[in-house]
């Protein structure tokens, strides 16, 4: 299905999933056709997500209770970084909105060695964006309004696709359990002076992923959490 011309050993794909049994099997199988190591973090699902992911060939780490996507990503990274030989780490949403092809490009980009982390963007110049207009406007405004995003020249504030090296994985410590982790991730990049690059990716907005995606109103929570971050003891 894919022409695999890159070295995928040492690459770990982290898939946080909450009640995604319908689609997780295909998503994992698709990833496994290219990548040897996929870890699915089942975030307290009640629909058998864990079993489906395991049968599709993923390592499964199950939160006994639901914590949120940020916490699930942190768990997945902690699992992957303990596995022998892990060098490259990628986060990948479970609802099937990302393309495996994009991860391969991003891994290649990271292997170039001049950056520590590559983040997917929906809004880079040449790619066709299928993002719904209102969502697009808000995401771009968020990226423009954040001084850090501007300084790092990031155009997409909340893209679930990220590929990073061991240095990032070792020091990653996401404390925002919910959806606010995307902003936190960017702050960590800034604080730790990780070298960051963007890679244009395509998001497949299926009916399923749109229904499962976060409502725009959740942006209010994200902004509020952003102010609070750092006021809490780690």
């Amino acid at each position: 299905m894919y022409v695999v011309d890159i070295d995928t050993s040492g690459v770990w794909i982290i898939v946080p999933a909450f009640n995604e049994a319908q689609v997780i099997g295909d998503v994992v199988a698709d990833l496994r056709s290219v990548f040897a190591h996929v870890v699915c973090v089942d975030d307290g699902s009640g629909d058998g997500t864990a079993g489906v992911a395991l049968r599709a060939g993923a390592h499964v780490v199950s939160h006994p209770v639901n914590l949120g996507q940020g916490a699930a990503i942190q768990t997945g990274v902690e699992y992957a970084r303990r596995r022998p030989g892990s060098e490259v780490f990628a986060t990948f949403d479970a609802d099937g909105q990302h393309r495996v092809k994009d991860v391969m490009t991003m891994v290649e980009r990271l292997r170039g060695g001049d950056v520590d982390i590559v983040i997917g963007t929906r809004f880079a110049g040449s790619t066709i964006s299928h993002t719904p207009p209102v969502k697009r406007l808000i995401l771009q405004a968020a990226a423009c309004l954040s001084p850090i995003s501007r300084r790092l020249r990031l155009t997409d504030a909340h893209n679930g696709l990220r590929v990073f090296n061991r240095a990032v994985a070792e020091h990653l410590n996401l404390t925002m359990s919910g959806m606010s982790h995307a902003g936190e991730f960017i702050k960590l990049i800034d604080e730790n002076r990780w070298r960051v690059a963007e890679e244009p990716v395509e998001i497949l907005y299926t009916e399923y992923s749109l229904a499962k995606g976060q409502p725009l109103l959740n942006g209010v929570n994200i902004v509020f959490d952003g102010f609070l971050r750092g006021r809490l003891r780690r």
Binding site: V41, A50, L54, G57, A58, H59, V60, V61, S62, H63, P64, V65, L67, A71, Q74, T75, E78, Y79, R82, T175, S177, L228, R231, L232, R233, R234
Partner: protein, 113 residues
């Protein structure tokens, strides 16, 4: 501007500073206890001599002692709400760490089936 306005505004600003700089340390905890002790003493005094609250209120530019109490209560309530909120956030973080440790201990690999 009379004194009560100055006081209330200062309290609100203090709340903001507290929210922004809150870190649980031994010193802060000690001050909370001192504050609580003062609160109890003031409460007992106000119960014994309710009319004195009006005297204090007049010093501060408020007509009635009851009004002064309601202002103080409002500030105390906001303060409590905020510190509870922050405490909960902190607990959530620890809870997440606990859940993560449990999850990592019982991880399953595809080879195991």
């Amino acid at each position: 501007m009379n004194w009560i306005q100055v006081l209330l505004i200062a309290s609100v600003v203090a709340l903001l500073v507290y929210l922004l700089r809150s870190r649980t340390n031994a010193k802060a905890k000690a001050w909370v206890k001192v504050g609580y002790a003062l609160f109890v003493i003031a409460a007992v005094y106000a119960i014994l001599r309710p009319d004195d609250t009006t005297v204090v209120a007049n010093w501060l530019g408020v007509d009635r002692g009851a009004d002064l109490l309601s202002y103080a209560l409002t500030i105390a309530f906001i303060f409590t709400t905020l510190s509870t909120y922050l405490r909960f956030k902190q607990l959530e973080l620890r809870y997440a760490q606990l859940v993560r440790a449990v999850a990592l201990q019982s991880a399953r690999t595809p080879e195991q089936g």
